[in-house]
């Protein structure tokens, strides 16, 4: 029987209205209306405003079908549900437009301007434009509902095509840069107008993606299955090959990207380095460290003080290479110092105390008391780059920094992996599972935890040393709490406890969105970066808490119930089949 679930439609409609209103209210619509994505029809502002409506339209009549159950028939009711959902959303948005038109709230909410009213009513103003404000979402909701009528494979392809068009348009910079670098300026100039994809080019991209999807028919999925199913040894070997391929790709890529994008990737490298370190502390040993940035700061300041000719106290002017071991030593020492008192604490207490330590370190660097050594708010300036015989690697040539970061990232990945695959790593895992039992199994808890803290600190110290040489100066303001949090988000979103996961997290968050004070590929979003980070984090926690690329163990942990259930089903299945199984012998 087909019923139209009014409450569900209303709920999704209100959600869509909420998302639209929120996007408009925080100023995203206004901020991005100039940034065209598809010339001349779609701007980023409207995309952000409206993207959720078709999703809600689809979801409002989407019924989860359990395996082996029959899917309810799809038909007109899906379309109606979609349209109604959109309509509800539209009404919410129109009400919002009326409110900001009627009351001047600009003093409190800066984005609530008449310009916003204009944008919400498609330039017609209240009341003339209101029908459009309602009908546009309704139409999009209807489109979402219509998707139910497509066969699943076609639907997937349509969604894929739309996603790709958006990605290409958003990352216009990357694509046109690559086209230019391989001497296809002509194409780049024709396809992109005003940083936006030409409408016909958008259609072409969509068609191309759909065609490729048609040709490969899930071939990638099957390939991945073949590569990563198999027995664990086989899997490790295949992963190693994949790593080599990725490496080759990474070596070529700076040549294709040019300096701006290399800069972005170099930042990714820095954060990845720290992410790998924090992954050991949080992901493997299970200690929530919110003051991780302190070790990054110690590494950076050590290099700054030792190498800069303008260093306030010393004028040692060491080479970066000489300062690096000292930086590693000092950050390890910092790890030991911070670690020793907090090691007995668990969970939340540890988090709070480390957070405090992180702030203490930053404030010490900022303080007048130590300003004769660390320069207070001015920091340490004029830090030279990394001498490499024939050349010097510094922020001026981000390609060099990128290669350097890459090298250290690989080193860090190797260190993490090899520790993970040793008795030390096993001890960390046991520690995370059950500290008391781990101790009873002969693991020295204090030493294991300190190990994790120190290795984590050293990796952050590395990153700091590199950061100092890249930026040429260090200030206390580069080491705020936010950095610790963002590294943590990188680890969580990517997949805690898993090296490739952390890499993906760093690329997605730092590369695409940008780190604290660092631009990403989507530099436009700078102002809204933290908002998006937060939204992403909430989404991940709700939908995919094990991260984008989960570690096997972690997803086991988070889905333990299902696994036990499977095992139970499995067993009862085999018991029933096996002749004479069960308790015949008793």
């Amino acid at each position: 029987m087909i019923t139209i679930d009014m409450r569900r439609m209303l709920r999704w409609g209100m959600t869509a209205g909420g998302v639209m209103t929120f996007t408009a209210a925080v100023g995203m619509l206004e901020a991005f209306e100039d940034r065209l994505l598809i010339y001349p029809v779609l701007s980023l502002g409207y995309l952000l405003l409206l993207w959720f409506v078709p999703v809600a339209g689809y979801q409002s009549s989407n019924v989860a079908v359990l395996e082996g159950m029959e899917a309810p028939p799809r038909g007109l009711h899906n379309v109606i549900a979609g349209a109604v959902t959109g309509l509800v959303g539209g009404v919410v948005l129109a009400l919002f437009a009326i409110v900001i038109n009627a009351f001047d709230l600009r003093d409190v909410f800066v984005p609530f301007s008449l310009k916003l009213v204009g944008l919400l009513t498609y330039g017609l103003g209240v009341p003339e434009g209101l029908p459009y404000a309602v009908l546009a979402p309704a139409a999009l909701g209807l489109v979402g509902g219509l998707m139910h009528l497509l066969p699943a494979s076609v639907r997937r392809r349509v969604i894929l095509a739309v996603e790709w068009v958006v990605v290409v348009a958003l990352l216009e910079q990357v694509f046109s840069q690559i086209l230019r670098q391989i001497r296809l300026e002509v194409v780049a100039d024709r396809v992109f107008t005003l940083k936006a994809l030409e409408w016909w080019a958008a259609l072409a991209v969509a068609a191309l993606v759909a065609a490729v999807a048609e040709r490969t028919r899930g071939g990638f999925g099957r390939m991945r299955e073949r590569l990563f199913a198999g027995d664990p040894r086989q899997r490790t070997r295949n992963s190693a090959w994949m790593a080599v391929l990725v490496l080759v790709f990474l070596i070529i890529i700076p040549q294709l990207l040019g300096s701006l994008l290399s800069e972005v990737l170099a930042n990714v490298g820095l954060f990845l380095l720290m992410g790998l370190g924090l992954n050991i502390v949080v992901g493997l040993a299970g200690m929530l460290d919110l003051g991780y940035v302190a070790f990054f700061a110690v590494g950076a300041y050590t290099v700054g003080v030792l190498t800069s000719p303008l260093s306030p106290r010393f004028t040692l002017e060491w080479s970066w290479w000489a300062a690096l071991p000292v930086a590693i030593l000092t950050s390890a020492l910092a790890g030991l110092l911070v670690g020793t008192p907090v090691i007995r604490m668990r969970g939340d207490y540890l988090a709070i105390v480390t957070l405090g330590f992180g702030e203490i370190v930053r404030i010490l660097f900022l303080s007048d008391w130590l300003s004769t050594t660390f320069g207070g708010a001015q920091g340490v300036q004029n830090i030279p780059g990394i001498p490499l015989g024939f050349t010097e690697v510094s922020g001026v040539g981000p390609e060099g920094v990128l290669y350097f970061a890459l090298f250290f990232v690989l080193l860090a990945a190797w260190i993490s992996w090899s520790l993970q695959e040793s008795r030390i790593g096993r001890a960390w895992t046991a520690l995370r599972e059950d500290e008391t039992v781990a101790a009873a199994m002969g693991i020295n808890i204090v030493r294991a935890k300190l190990n994790a803290f120190i290795v984590g600190a050293i990796l952050a110290g590395f990153a700091g040393a590199l950061f100092a040489a890249k930026l040429g100066s260090v200030f206390p303001s580069s080491f705020e709490l936010l950095v610790s949090i963002i590294i943590l988000v990188v680890v969580i979103v990517g997949g805690m406890g898993n090296i490739p996961g952390v890499a993906v997290g760093a690329v997605v968050l730092i590369g695409v969105l940008g780190g604290p004070n660092l631009p990403g590929l989507l530099a436009e979003f700078a102002e809204f970066k933290l908002l998006i980070y937060g939204a992403l984090l909430v989404f991940m926690m709700l939908r995919k808490p094990e991260g984008l690329v989960p570690s096997v163990r972690r997803s086991r942990e988070l889905h333990a119930d299902e696994l036990t259930q499977d095992a139970w089903l499995d067993k009862s299945g085999t018991l029933a089949e096996a002749p004479g199984g069960g308790r015949g012998a008793g």
Partner: protein
């Protein structure tokens, strides 16, 4: 030779005296059962011996040396390993990893060897693995083969108990403390494990102390039985002696006044 020697051990939790002056000893090569009604203090005895809680007073000598106040990891290193009444495996680690990790205090390779993947580390890792597989094969075919790489949480209850014993064995103890190892097993599994407990001593040379409620197991495995009640030892001797002891019967059935 006396392996574990305990004098006047006291431990109370708030108002409850879990151990109220326990004196006992365990000789090398013995299998000793500790029995007693619920709440008698049996598990508390294990907890205090393995360093989970410090005793309020009293002396614990293991091979002549006091282990009072040592970290539980040090006590394991000294040669005492245990299992838990409420099985506490590392559920998200695989069967093999559970046994490998318990060899921690018997192996040496540090970060330096791990990062450089030295021959020493490779050899040691191979040994750890081989030893783990060997220990698991002690339980017949139940925990071997494809089971090696399964997470512990996919094991049945009985297999979890077995794995816990394997994990305790892996730390190469001299003294094994098993807390109700057959609880929740069916009669056939119980009989099998009873045989294995004897083999733990006869073939592997462990001295075994076992807390058990199942009297058939107690009868079949024990050289000596120690009865605790309200935190004190009320009887000690062979199974037959103990099972006909007035005080023991009273402890289990309740005092006449309470019954009447």
């Amino acid at each position: 030779m006396v392996m574990l020697d305990i004098h006047n051990l006291h431990k109370s939790f708030g108002g409850v005296e879990a151990l109220a002056g326990v004196n006992l000893h365990i000789a090398q090569g013995e299998i000793v059962s500790v029995i007693g009604p619920n709440g008698a203090g049996k598990t508390s005895f294990f907890n205090v011996v393995t360093g989970f809680y410090p005793p309020d007073s009293g002396e614990i000598l293991f091979e002549g040396e006091s282990i009072v106040g040592l970290e539980s990891s040090r006590i394991t290193e000294a040669g005492i390993a245990r299992t838990f009444q409420n099985v506490r495996l590392f559920l998200n680690m695989t069967v093999l990893e559970n046994v490998m990790v318990a060899q921690h205090c018997r192996t040496r390779a540090g970060a330096f060897h791990a990062i450089l993947r030295t021959p020493f580390l490779r050899r040691e890792e191979a040994e750890i693995r081989a030893r783990a597989e060997e220990i698991l094969s002690f339980f017949g075919t139940r925990l071997v083969g494809y089971r090696f790489d399964q997470p512990a949480l996919s094991l049945s209850y009985a297999n979890r108990r077995r794995l816990e014993i394997a994990r305790a064995m892996a730390s190469e103890p001299k003294l094994l403390l098993l807390d109700e190892p057959v609880a929740g097993m069916n009669p056939r599994e119980t009989a099998e494990l009873t045989g294995l407990i004897r083999k733990l001593r006869d073939e592997r040379g462990f001295t075994v102390v076992i807390i058990e409620h199942d009297m058939r197991v107690v009868r079949d495995v024990s050289d000596r039985v120690i009865v605790l009640d309200h935190g004190v030892k009320i009887a000690e001797g062979s199974y037959d002696e103990v099972s006909s002891d007035e005080a023991v019967i009273e402890a289990y059935l309740g005092r006449p006044a309470e019954v009447g």
